[in-house]
Symmetry: D2
Subunit: 509 residues, 4 copies
């Protein structure tokens, strides 16, 4: 496997220097660095672009519903443009005494265009539906981004699987070498899990891409609003109808997404643990590229798979955030309750923690080196072929599987005790069974060769090269479909942005 690692180009490496040749990958460093030296920005700063969108859509709709004059609309839109320009150059600051992004935006409009137009913006809405809409827009983009990266990760795993469909390696149960499998089979098993995760996220997307705007405080409004039109301007598939439902269950989709991401993260943690184990010296089946290892501040020889451990930590965080979201309003009555506010931070923390995890994993997997010899030598002492032999005896000697299994149990013990090859031990045992033919040299050869054993393990979904290839085809098909769906969703958002832009331009005329 070629090493083409995404190393950072910074001239000065980290303190641990020494054994690790190149400077560590920047993405990896940032991923592992956590919040040690980076601040976390105010939550509503992340909401600002979405709040502008919600405001624009709402005000245009109000104008179309004759609740606001075209002149007032123009002045509001122009103030919102100024906010956007300031924000893009990092010069729009949220003033704490104005509580949140919504009131900061309204205050800015008031300051620049006067109370008589700013005072119209909050017509027919409450901060309750406004923040719910902002968060829906935020959630939608974060989920799509994540989906894109998670598909990339599944894809790199399928590539690894195809490339290594014939690379024998030990398969584990109970943390122990259990039976021969292939690196391809292993890689494809992870790809399958990640593919399901993306499926689940896109299923959710189809459910949550609905607009809560117009729900107001919880109980609708007497203003003649057109919720569907505002939804269209924001690229939603429609509206979430019942206004009380919109507010009571405001964070339901955040919760569902968090649960889905926690399942993803659990899958990622399993992959991470495989990488930690397989790259540790006692195993050393794989070598993680220098760009993805970290040194120790006092042990110069260490090459630590910190990114994989960070992923495990983040899997705990993701599960804990999902649990917190489930618990946040449990036991509250319907309608808005202030607890909801914390769903915002939990959701943002979730994406801040695991948003780049698929990318980092993709990088680490893409630059992985396999030590195929070690796989072979290390594993050849562990009787990995015992179950295959039991099957073979049952298949060729016409005895029930359980009987063959028991022979093999004895053979393993004998081989260990008397330090003889397993095939010899088997033959000694078969010798004692009058009616059973011992293994001949051809058979012995077949049963001692991982490649031959694996070739025979050809049940659907098994580790034989053909079975792995077939599974890879199935996965490719799924990935292609998921990618198409993701693209369609992303395009719909772009289209809505276009529609909004054109509508604003028309208003400005």
């Amino acid at each position: 496997m070629k090493k083409s690692s995404p190393r950072s180009k910074s001239p000065k490496g980290p303190v641990w220097g020494g054994r690790i040749a190149g400077p560590a990958g920047k993405a990896n460093l940032a991923f592992c660095a956590g919040w040690d030296v980076r601040p976390r920005p105010a939550a509503d700063l992340a909401l600002l672009p979405y709040d502008l969108w919600t405001n624009r859509a709402h005000c245009i709709m109000l104008m179309r519903a004759k609740t606001m004059s075209r002149a007032s609309l123009r002045r509001i839109l122009s103030a919102l443009d100024r906010i956007e320009a300031l924000a893009e150059s990092g010069r729009f600051t949220l003033r704490p005494h104005l509580e949140d992004v919504h009131l900061n935006v309204e205050a800015f409009v008031e300051k620049h265009e006067g109370i008589e137009v700013a005072g119209l913006m909050h017509t027919a809405r409450s901060r309750n539906d406004q923040v719910a809409t902002d968060m829906r827009l935020y959630l939608r983009e974060r989920v799509l981004e994540f989906v894109r990266e998670a598909i990339g990760l599944a894809d790199v795993l399928v590539r690894l699987a195809k490339k290594n469909a014939t690379t024998p390696m030990p398969g584990l149960t109970h943390h122990q070498p259990a039976a021969w499998t292939t690196f391809g089979h292993w890689a494809a098993s992870h790809a399958a899990a990640f593919t399901r995760d993306v499926r689940a996220l896109l299923d959710l997307y189809a459910q949550f891409n609905l607009s809560p705007l117009g729900a107001a405080a919880s109980f609708g409004t007497s203003w003649p609003i057109d919720r569907a039109y505002a939804a269209e301007l924001m690229g939603f598939d429609g509206v979430q109808t019942n206004s009380l439902d919109c507010i009571t269950n405001r964070s339901e989709f955040e919760t569902r997404v968090a649960a889905a991401l926690a399942v993803w993260a659990t899958h990622a943690a399993t992959l991470a643990q495989d990488l930690v184990l397989f790259s540790s010296p006692p195993w050393h089946l794989i070598r993680i590229d220098d760009a993805f290892v970290t040194g120790s501040s006092i042990m110069p020889q260490k090459r630590n798979p910190d990114f994989a451990e960070a992923i495990k930590a983040k899997a705990t965080l993701a599960a804990s955030i999902a649990g917190a979201l489930l618990g946040l309003t449990r036991g509250d009555p319907s309608g808005y309750n202030r607890e909801q506010q914390w769903s915002k931070y939990l959701t943002m923390d979730l994406f801040d923690e695991i948003g780049s995890a698929p990318t980092v994993l993709t990088g680490a997997l893409g630059s992985l080196a396999l030590d195929k010899e070690r796989m072979y030598s290390l594993m050849s002492e562990e009787y990995l072929e015992a179950a295959d032999m039991a099957d073979y005896l049952a298949q060729t000697r016409r005895v029930p599987f359980r009987a063959a299994y028991r022979w093999m149990g004895q053979a393993v013990r004998m081989s260990e005790k008397d330090a003889i090859p397993l095939v010899d031990a088997v033959n000694r045992i078969l010798d004692k069974e009058s009616s059973v033919r011992p293994l001949d040299p051809d058979e012995e050869g077949t049963l001692s060769c991982p490649g031959c054993i694996l070739m025979r393990r050809s049940s659907a979904g098994g580790p034989s090269p053909d079975a792995v290839e077939a599974h890879c085809e199935e996965l490719r098909e799924s990935i292609r479909a998921l990618r198409t769906e993701e693209k369609r969703r992303a395009r719909a958002i772009d289209n809505a942005r276009g529609l909004l832009r054109r509508t604003i331009a028309r208003c400005a005329r």
Copy 2:
């Protein structure tokens, strides 16, 4: 609302006697009684029917694949029939020293038909894929049952909503009366949430109705098995391909289902808390039927909504079980690890705890009595109309909403301080504004009448009778579609049972 409560007919009521007229509903009692006086049976007893199914499908497939003779198959099937008959009359006991249901079944076959046929059953499989398949069958039926009951609950809420589309009641925010809404709007908001929950469960069903059988220990098998055929005999839509994926991620779907049910339970807890609050004496908007309240062992006047509190407790349990399932194998490497076993108990605990929750809620809602007068009188003192007045002034007096909102803030304070009606306070304030016309008597009437106010709150999804009716139609449509899907799934399982029965009959000939 007519009271037709599902009371138990037992001649002797519970100890608390007294104020509660009839004996409490049996389902309710059992639901609240928990595990105080009921034991929880061994987990594998619940798996037995599914283990028999897995065994039958596996052995028939082995016979078709020429791995087992028809004669051996017949003897195995006949022994399995005997187990089933014993189990149905409660006489099949699991012997603890045989570890689990799989070995108990195999031992029974061995005892009655000999090792030479029993020894064939475990050909081409491991307990790993066997239990995964049993659990998939278990999960499938529990989910469908739950879906059926949850649809029933959504349905009763839509009925309540239609019936009460014009019943004014206070809407809450922050546990406080906030604005007029209707009981119908409230009921429909809960129906909407439960409808989404069912949608999510059926989406999951489509993903998990796949067979892991044939994955063996994790790494497939060299026996010439036909996984698709066995899957068909069990009513699966196909196979879960990668064998390592089947075992590593064995409890993934249990976890996803648990998360989905935890969301359902959170919704149910909100409904439960609404019932607790609204039925408590200081509110007393509703009266829970005697069949669903519980007395106190020392306070004879109490009518406690224990079932609703039990639902809240169970929502905590459901979330905690989902969290435990997420955490159980986190950080483990791929392949089977013994931690998986506990996913079985967690899943069963989940269904044992919340399986009947939708039914109990349906019963309680179906027998609810509304105190409409109280709704009206209690709420009339709380200025629920203030936001509506602000809207009205903004709409009719051509002032920005914010300005109207501020007038109303002053008016509420004045009304409270000077103990004058809110409309009078409004007029006093408007008097001071030279250019604004005060409210005339017609306007005053409209703004003091909940029905009129609600009629005006006609935004899509709002509480106006028309909006509620429209939402109910939308919900009915969804419920109809969900019911159709549920029925189709249930029929597919029945069909598979039929196919299995016919295939067995053919084998027996």
Copy 3:
């Protein structure tokens, strides 16, 4: 109760204006505002003061152990002083490419004093024990601060209890008025819980105030260090002996503290929910001061108890953080694993979220107004005296309690059905019992007067004025002892600072 609310003096109030007379309390606003408009600083910024302390103690110890010259020490100490000075004026920034506070500090020393002295600082230690020590210092101060505020909260509750030992109010079970109690009894029950919480935190303090410094990477060091002396310079009670234990279980105390704070927060959530319920219009037993309520952006009449809801949200967060800390390294082998790093953020998030909760609750309780009339009138209709009557009949009419209880059950039903006073209903029922003397007018009076009823409920820990007084005395005693212990701990930290300062001064000579 006198209202003396800690209102902010800012000239401009929040947007909701109107009904809420004064500008809201700043502490309350900040508490509720969450992270909407405030960034969360880099974690290691919060560690900086502790990292300086650790560095100073470590280097002084190295010098005393002859591992560093006095001249080198002086240069290091002087550079550390410069960092401190910069930090105090907000001008010390953590450079991200230097990973963490430890390397930033070392790099600063290197830049200003050269590698030849900076290179000595990391002698005989690893970042593993360094960060563990920093966190122990951090934890220690946060816990003591919390303890101080939590004692203040318990204290204000005891004051409320003493003041209201004779104020009748309804006691709840199942969210319903159940029996007469006093406001004093209620307040004392919360004080008791908070007192236990402080006890638990101080018990923990006694366990965790030990130094991990010197554990190095996990396996000690060959340098001749004096761990006890460094511990003394940092005010620890001693060292945590086993070096592997120090690192493997680095976040154990954070976890224990988080669990203890989660229990505190659960208690606080119960108190918060009591305040939410009792201040809501249908109850209205209490009035929360304007400084602690929040308005609505569209409903001008609302007075929302947001701080109490925020406390409930934070209780969920605290429990979730405790769970995340428990899960973070579960299943890892011993020694350092990178997952540990996230324990830092979780711990800081915990204190950032709930650190000021006791103070806010103390403020809200200190400015609470009771509506004693409402307590009396609202509750007089709910048969709160029924259980007391049952007791009275059993005591005076020589019948078993169960028999009296059943009479009362009938009486409640009759009173409700026939709309007659409960005492009349009781007498009608007693009339039917030939041998039982009906209630005479004196008895009727006693049983209809909350004060008289409460006077009789004089069991230890009950709501009678004497029992409440006695409990308050017990609580005061506990609070006094806790305060003494907290002060002693705080003084020990101050003393260590003094010792450090004097030692540095001596070195500088």
Copy 4:
């Protein structure tokens, strides 16, 4: 290490037969078997002995308070004796329609002694304080049992530590061999953690050994009860004073205990993972005795450390139960709410799951075999001495640690690349530094010998034999103190049983 394994004596082994010589340990099998083939009894069956105690203490107290005649008391006590006798022979069954153990007991007394005496039992109490008292008695005994076993586990670890104070083994960081340590140092690190856990449990015991009896429904009683006397008869240290606090916070101590046990279980999971890793073939530092491994149903060579994986699973359960207990009543107002009931099952599940975990671990550790040669050979290739060399160079060549650390980093790379011994690589590098003396043969010897290296790592709490010995002494001292405290607590319970027996005997006269 001598193998003296607690094997079961059953003649027939488990199905997996073969390689595993003897029949597996029964305790281990039961521990791993979970609930597959064992039912979980009704919760209140476990409470029955405690409910009888509570009843006896309460009724004796009532008699002494003149509220019950001596004759009635005698009849009640005699009926309670009959229940006890029936229960001991498994013939007392809880009748489900009687809801719980309390009403079942009362009904039994009523049936056998008549309503006129049974009707007296519920005088001055509610089921609320009754079940709280039962649970306190239950909790107390379970905690003491656990403490006893957990002390045993710490003790066996200290023995292992003393015995292996000079056995070199690789110490881990990041799942990788990092530095030489000793098996004794490793064992002592776990002993230290478990010792703290016991300390925490006994601290809690001191807080919770108080009686809630007499709190009644939440609000005390007007009967002249003597709570202190009843508490004495049950062996409590006193009463939990405030009656509302007793009921609102009924499950607080269950929660605190669960959190403490979850920390214990996290420690146990770390130990378990160490055992899983170290016994897995790629490491094979230790061999778990046959009595504690499990086979595979299809791979005859497997020796799976299922008990250790079960412990990891149970650590997840313990944390999840602690979380559920924290969440169960969060957000409820004060007073009794039905959610509390589920705290009973959660608490019992906790002890049922992890109660025997210390015992199983003690057994597995007691029968562990170390492969010392393997420890040495496997680890000698991993540059474990690199940090020690860096220290040595810094100590002897008068260069700052950082400089020495950087040399060693280069040396490790050179040794790896050029396949030369590390000491040679070091000398090549030192050769280039004009002023630094290379390592002489003596030095080379010292730095290549684990024993010499470890001897030098003699900082307090480090892995040098002396440091380990010293830590073991400290641990022994702690264990001795904990054992004394545990015994004192157990004796106090026995004494209370004696007092109760004597008091009953006196009443019966």
